[in-house]
Symmetry: C2
Subunit: 788 residues, 2 copies
Amino acid sequence: MPVMNYRKGTEKEKSWIIEETSFNEKYTGKCESVFTQGNGYLGLRNSLEEQYLNTVRGMFITGTFNKASKDEVTELPNVSDIVNMEIELNGERFSMNENNIKEYSRTLNLYTGETCRNVLWKGKNGDIVHLSFHRFVSYENVHVIGAYVEIKPVNCEMKVKVVSGIDAQVTNHGAQHLTEFSKRAFEEKFLQMGMVTTESAVSIAVSTVHKVFQSGKYTEDAASKIIDDRRKIHAEIQLVIPQGETARVEKISTVHSSRDLEYVASGKEPEGENVCRDGLDNLKEAEEKGYETLLEESKKVWEKIWKKQDIQIDSKEDDAQIAVRFALYHLQIMVRREDNRVGIGAKALSGEGYKGHSFWDTETFIFPYFQMAEPETARTLLEFRYKGLYGARKKAIENGYKGAMYPWEAAWVSDGEVTPYVTGVNVHTGEPMICLTGVIEQHITSDIIFALWQYYAATDDQDFMDRYGYEMTIETARFWNSRLEWIEENNRYEIRDVIGPDEYKEHVDNNAYTNYMAHENMRLAAQVIACIRDEKKDIYGKMQKLMQEEGTSLEQLEEELKDKMKKLYLPQPDEKTGIIPQFDGYFDLKEIDLSVYKNASVVGTVFHDYSGEDVQGMQAGKQADIVELLYQMEDITTPDNKAKNYVYYEARTLHDSSLSKAIHSITACDLGMEKEAYDMFMSAALTDLGQEMKSSDAGIHSANMGGVWQDVVMGFGGIRIRDGHLRIAPNCPKQWEKFTYPLYWKGNELHITVCKDGVEVINEGEDFEAEIMGQTVTVSKGKNEFRA
Amino acid sequence: MPVMNYRKGTEKEKSWIIEETSFNEKYTGKCESVFTQGNGYLGLRNSLEEQYLNTVRGMFITGTFNKASKDEVTELPNVSDIVNMEIELNGERFSMNENNIKEYSRTLNLYTGETCRNVLWKGKNGDIVHLSFHRFVSYENVHVIGAYVEIKPVNCEMKVKVVSGIDAQVTNHGAQHLTEFSKRAFEEKFLQMGMVTTESAVSIAVSTVHKVFQSGKYTEDAASKIIDDRRKIHAEIQLVIPQGETARVEKISTVHSSRDLEYVASGKEPEGENVCRDGLDNLKEAEEKGYETLLEESKKVWEKIWKKQDIQIDSKEDDAQIAVRFALYHLQIMVRREDNRVGIGAKALSGEGYKGHSFWDTETFIFPYFQMAEPETARTLLEFRYKGLYGARKKAIENGYKGAMYPWEAAWVSDGEVTPYVTGVNVHTGEPMICLTGVIEQHITSDIIFALWQYYAATDDQDFMDRYGYEMTIETARFWNSRLEWIEENNRYEIRDVIGPDEYKEHVDNNAYTNYMAHENMRLAAQVIACIRDEKKDIYGKMQKLMQEEGTSLEQLEEELKDKMKKLYLPQPDEKTGIIPQFDGYFDLKEIDLSVYKNASVVGTVFHDYSGEDVQGMQAGKQADIVELLYQMEDITTPDNKAKNYVYYEARTLHDSSLSKAIHSITACDLGMEKEAYDMFMSAALTDLGQEMKSSDAGIHSANMGGVWQDVVMGFGGIRIRDGHLRIAPNCPKQWEKFTYPLYWKGNELHITVCKDGVEVINEGEDFEAEIMGQTVTVSKGKNEFRA
């Protein structure tokens, strides 16, 4: 089984290089996902050039959603395969197996975004050849993909055939999203396929060209012919390479779509032929530059990113440094920072899993990173949700509520809810399999508002609030206002029949997380109404008009909110134990020993022994729920109770979601549980990067990448936003000497170094007040040191 | 490279077993196609159970045409893969390569229709195991497919995992034809997927079940779980097999569609759920019976077929016997004999090539077999064309003609022409690639009528003529009547701008084959009109009404036909050379030496040196054209001229079509060119069966299967229908002692044995007159011997 090695890089490359040290065709999915390359616009799974049986090739363009058939859910189409290069070496097909590989190393360089595979291959007839494959997706010109193979015969002259091109036969596991409207070989070398999605009519142009070099010299006349097949076009290149010399086949590709940001200004989507023309123009320019220049351009962008974003950990003990950079790398390639029409998928652009849809994963797990490290990107993500008000209002109406009820799963902003209510049929019973999250997992609405106000606190972005934030807050509060149920016998409002963060529990009443977060949403709205009435007459007027169109008024809403907030049931800690019930009746559920399931190498093992219904009746949670709540809203109980709740619920949590361990780790940090915090952190950090070779096949866990960042910065870094202020209560792990992370606070660029005995803050901006290690202090421009 | 061995069978199995003697994953397409199993309803490519990269799995149901998207051509959907069985042996995936295969034999038994693969496999850890795979498609219950694998560990105990089920992720090279409406595992073992074609709304149910036996004993409780994935459902079976014992996993499957013949009586297509229900019921019955019983049932049908249809060749010298049986086998599995709604595809049901469409291949190459060996099936095939009058009339109108102009490519009878006019875009120039055959390759209309009258002569099926044949003859003659062009300067009718059988020549004028065949079509129609006026008042009335609706009358048509026939230009032999020009100006074309291209192992090599336009200007033909004409209509010139034309045109023919060599061989027989005839025959007979490992990938050449039969019976057997009489002018090849073939002549079942010095006819029916070896004789009931 292949092993992931984190220590390949030395000196300048230390903790930047992830290596797969051997090859096994059973486990191609692992590096296809975790070595995914991209730039937020484009995601390219790191499939190998030559084909293997279990490969799942994938290339995704953000925002190109399509329904493969009327009964299917909208998803990101697998655009086509441009990674392919079938190589024949003296008549034998190049393919790796344990007998013919003498040396093997495959790496992702997090610093440059380039992947590289070096193979020393011995053919059946004894021919030995060195092959070196390189690839990157440009961060400078987001449409461009560069790749090359260098072939060097070691002990013989070598006849080489390379068949390489565009293969649009790929589907999403058998579901066809694209039909082609054009297929061309311009100037006998620029290959292009123009395609259009079957339902959503997004035009996509995929173009590629090959450049051949013999012993470093560009060879215009390499024997090449075009192979035109159904839904495919390829070039066949023939070479003879003398012993000891090196030939190189570069493959430069571009990918364009009619949904591209570049076309937004014109006000309408371009015709497919224009997309093709732009794709070809871009390709010609890229071909002119060639691989090295294109890579250099892209590396410059990555250099800037790392200069700003790197977290540096001084530690001799483990692989935390590279794991954190791995998370940052994926956070950087999952977001299209300029485009407020697109969200972030739960697998980002690294696989077909979760169909490219956005969940609460974005706001609760990923967003805090952008909010504190790239506030302008965070704003774009919130604007995506502002645009999503359209679909959220639609969803509220469909469900019989008022205001804006955000979709559990979001694709296009106009779509509204895209969670399928029926996900299929239970093959055993024939009963439809109902997915309730799109209907009753409702906390996402307040999660978005919580994130929004965190952002506002961190940035003071009043422009955002004026344009979008206030409206979002009021509209979502209107949803909760209509959602609460008056329960006469309890003389209070309740929120019944929901799913909380712990998705193993369906149809629960008064999930604490949901109720508290709804209350917070309502509280913020009431505060907004009061604020804009006094200070923002124009916004007040605009919102009042909106309310009146809906047959109500801001006054009436404010009154109702105040009344209902007071009467909304917020589950309190049990007087004896201090434990907050996760939902009504939680304490009555059966307790079982979960240790065997918690320690399994794969998730979901509890279902080997118990049915879904069994688990519903057990104190066995999928993920952080009360612990998530106490992380986000620590003031709802005492620190002592927080500790008790952590211990109680952690014991009852299976961590069957990647959204769980990082949050537990942060809370463990807060509680001074050093070992537990660190173990949970490393476990979270290795979710995709670790030695488990199958669990990332469908794509990386994008929320967990944010979770890892939060764990470092919010957990070990001890960052929290409290009442509009920055709090730093650092907990440097004993494994680390110190660590440094960047942060934006109200427009001030900070570089924070946490060490064993304190914290150092370099403030590139203005003075501000903060709470650091329990003291209210001024963080002045320049360097500040705070010791315990 | 694998070798096809024809001599595996001995004693009773002699010349019945085709063997592939070794395995190479580069050449999986060969046996997938040539070992295709079926029954006319269903065609199943003989893919291996475990997956290989180059495999093209295929299962096709006759008549289930669909368009994958609006711009694509209707084609037979690749239904789904039920052949798959992924096997793990002590943790290692079973897959064959040159290192782990100790013994290998894969056979198709033509007599039983069963395929069998025996492999002695050695795992990486030294485990040796014998695997034996068997499969058949039932000819008794046409919906049923039976398969099993037997696994016998030789030197160890073996843990075995078998993952097997239904994989509907397959597409037609990336084009998706089916969406699923149901997926079930009934009683935890009967797996089923219900699917529907995307455009034509044909419902298809594919069902499968596994039965496990340990040491011959049925094991109800073999650990099995269901794996439900996107567009897939599989069972995972786990076994432990003691050393030396054998376990067996049977896989019984059924395939049903809403287009099935069984539903026709009800007058409407059933709902998908009914198709699923019937599929499941059928599967349960089949499972009850099990593999052996199902195979026995199917073998009984095959036994009957072979008893009736076998051609026996007494020869010690070559593999002609098995090659002829191979052709008969494919002729038997390509036809759905009871169903007049479906034709025969150019690749039958053995691959995606030619999209399942019917060409002139059916009538000109395949039909003579059924006409003489299975007249009732021949009638069904003609009824398909009668039903196709609807589409033929549509095509005539679309092209500005009258009557019925048969489509060059036919799918559903209502479709009319399904040849795409634009087959795509020239990837180099961007120009649309125009396919002219659907417009100007017009001879198919008279080819069908020629076949019809041959059938009538052979069968005296007056009922067919009364119901369908007269109408078809008149309607097609009306097409020609409207098609002929009066050329004032030549003072004659001509047929300009056509493609003849030689498709390397486009836009030619007065292709001799086309003109003569059109003339024959018109002649027959004029004869019909005279006949029905005198003898068939009711038919005359009906046809007259039809003519009147079209603004004409039978009288007018008759008059016009007579006039135009007289004035239609029929190219005559050159006075000096005796050569009939293939079309106007043929003799002016450039002559080049074709020998290098004719002797190439693959077709189309002339285009390596010349463009299509070049070849258009050369005396270089794709296939029999004048030679085809002289085979069908020998009376148009003298025997001496026929010989001259054969020699002249054969030298100018590349045989780049599988429709060429058998026809040449027959003509060579007629001309007494023994060696040439036999060489051409063996070459035709080995088109698919031979040692060329790539040329059958897209499917077998179904016309050539008929060609081989014609070559034996019409060529060596010397059978011909002349003026309504049977002629036998046998030419026993010197390689053969004698050969025996069955034939129906006007309802009389004949068994004809040709030997060196004459012919023996066993007549199971009534006395009739025939021309045998130049003498008019009476063939009496019982045995008749005729010596030279």
